[in-house]
């Protein structure tokens, strides 16, 4: 971990510390990421970049969706926030900074991952695992707090769920138990990495609604990692689209109705929709470049219909496009400054 990076521990790193006096107000920035670069040492000792120059802010009571296809670096970005990068990977540059007094007091980051079955310990009852994640102050009244948490995530019979072993719960229930565990540490920031991907649509709908409710009630800053643009439109406030390790377009969720970056445009066109009826889909030709084989210039240029000479040579600059939107594209980025 390089020295200039200020990373904090995972949820409840120091649970016994006093809570900060002032909770952040809705909309206040609780975490900012600037120019984050993550990489690992490849064969021959050269650095292989995984995430390059990604910046965003998380605000209390708001949900930012990090969207992209597999291999775009969205999960690595999320892992970097909590210092959970896989072995061998490290932050090569940039800054992850929390607002003062927010994360230091143990009101940390909590994660919810894609596969709840793998995150829960199969040999302990669910209740015990949730209590384990509570700060010391809450453990004195752990029973009440446990019931409160389980009710918060929509369980009608908290006692029964607390007594169950993970295998006795369905996938949707396991994911809600994970959410309760994440909330047990009284986090300020919740990072949800593909939380609904393993769930059926009907269960997914309920979990998303729950997530949106919690974000509002608990004033949580939520970072939602997903590949599903439909999910994003449903619950997120802001969207950041990544491609091959770089941020390509950012904006309020309404930007999905009129994307500017050709990749985002292509993604939305490739999406099958109920109302469009039968007929061929417009895929994006080619495929996402493999790690270590990313092209020079704009990472999307080999698949882009609009690509021109400068796209092949230089990485596009990140340009603000008004209304909180920004994108990195030589062709659509608007006139240079």
């Amino acid at each position: 971990m390089s020295a200039k990076v200020n990373t904090m521990g995972a949820a409840g790193a120091r649970p016994d510390a006093a809570f900060p006096s002032g909770a952040p107000r809705a909309g206040e920035t609780v975490l900012s990421v600037e120019g984050l670069c993550v990489g690992y040492r490849g064969e021959g000792g050269s650095r292989v970049p995984v995430v390059e120059d990604v910046s965003f802010e998380l605000r209390a009571g708001r949900m930012l969706a990090l969207v992209g296809e597999s291999g775009c670096g969205k999960s690595v970005t999320a892992a970097a926030l909590g210092g959970l990068l896989p072995r061998g990977m490290s932050v090569d540059g940039g800054k992850i900074a929390a607002a003062p007094g927010i994360l230091r007091a143990g009101r940390g980051l909590a994660y919810v991952f894609q596969d709840p079955g793998q995150c829960l310990d199969p040999v302990f009852r669910v209740g015990r695992q949730i209590v384990e994640a509570m700060p010391r102050a809450d453990r004195r009244r752990s029973r009440e707090r446990l019931a409160e948490l389980l009710e918060q995530v929509g369980f009608h019979e908290p006692e029964r769920v607390a007594r169950s072993y993970p295998h006795q719960l369905s996938g949707g229930m396991q994911q809600r138990a994970m959410l309760a565990m994440a909330l047990a540490g009284r986090p300020r920031i919740l990072v949800a990495d593909e939380p609904t991907t393993a769930l059926d649509v009907t269960v997914q709908a309920r979990l998303l609604r729950l997530l949106a409710d919690l974000q509002r009630k608990e004033n949580l800053a939520v970072l939602l990692i997903t590949h599903n643009l439909g999910v994003v439109a449903e619950v997120a406030d802001e969207v950041l689209v990544m491609y091959a390790g770089r941020a390509v377009e950012r904006g309020p969720v309404s930007m999905l109705a009129s994307p500017r970056h050709p990749y985002v445009e292509g993604l939305l066109r490739a999406l099958p929709r109920l109302e469009r009826g039968a007929g061929p889909l417009e895929g994006i030709p080619g495929q996402v470049p493999a790690l270590g084989r990313r092209p020079a210039g704009c990472p999307f240029h080999p698949r882009c219909a609009l690509a021109r000479a400068e796209c092949r040579e230089r990485v596009p600059e990140w340009r603000e496009a008004g209304d909180g939107r920004a994108l990195a594209c030589w062709v659509r980025g608007g006139g240079g400054r």
């Binding site: 597999s70 059926d200 649509v201 009907t202 609604r209 999910v231 109920l274 895929g283 495929q287």
Partner: protein, 333 residues
Amino acid sequence: MVGELQGREKLVVEGVSVRFPVRRGVLARVRGAVRAVEGVSLEWAPGETIGLAGESGCGKTTLGRAVVGLERLAEGRMRIGERVLSEAGRAVRRSKEERRLIQMVFQDPLAALNPRLPVCDLVTEGLAEHGLLRGEGREDAAVRLLEEVGLGAEALWKYPFEFSGGQRQRICIARAMALRPDWVVCDEVASALDVSVQAQVINLLQDLKARHGVSYLMIGHDLSVLRHVSDRMAVMYLGRLAEVGPAGEVVERPLHPYTRALLAAVPVPGGVRGAGRRAVLRGEPPSAANPPPGCPFHPRCPLAKEVCRRTMPELEDAGGGHCVACHCAGEVA
């Protein structure tokens, strides 16, 4: 293509049930059965694509496997015209020709491809086994098949791990198509793929259908994908068919409350925002080992009445081939 389809007969699934024994205790005695598929009847016409939708555990994959002949039937039978493919209680071994006719593409291509065989062997294995190489060299046949799915000759001597998910799925499709089947069961072929690649694979399947006149049984949970490719759509719940009909009809005028809930749960970019729009379904699907009496959907159904708790609704035609199994079909909550 049309000429090829003429004279072909329908594949008929008649009252098919598939059950898996539940064994318990030290002696592993059979203590019950998971009723994965219960009394499903479906006609599959040549050249037709049927989209089979449902949540996980509803039996859609088991039904697909039964069609291919990978599951033993507990009830019912399956036939093409008068030729019986499988039948309950009788060991019908499918002939080589019958096996050639029905192929399957599985959900996880990495699991479906032998990691120790190069692509050349993988795609021509079936041809060699069925003696269909006909003088053509194995390599030539492989190149021809790979080109058909948009892969080049450079793929010939590579191994499965060297490809991306979308390319692996193309290899699986090439292998299934190698035998020139009439019927292909596609089990969640695109659900593990990224959106941009998913569209490529779906378009490839459509191309192959137009070129060779195959019929697909597309199994999936993504209703928007199924809507794109299907002529008819079937919705399964807890092993039974809840609704079957022309794809447009089922999506635009769903009659079964379960189909409506499924459709309402699909998140749409640019659609009406907010969780309030969706009618979120209560509870979760019950266990297939212990299905509720009456209509299997009644514990979660917003329209459930007394009759739903007692009597199982039959699949009935509501007009124009749009069939539904519901006592309250078409009623609004």
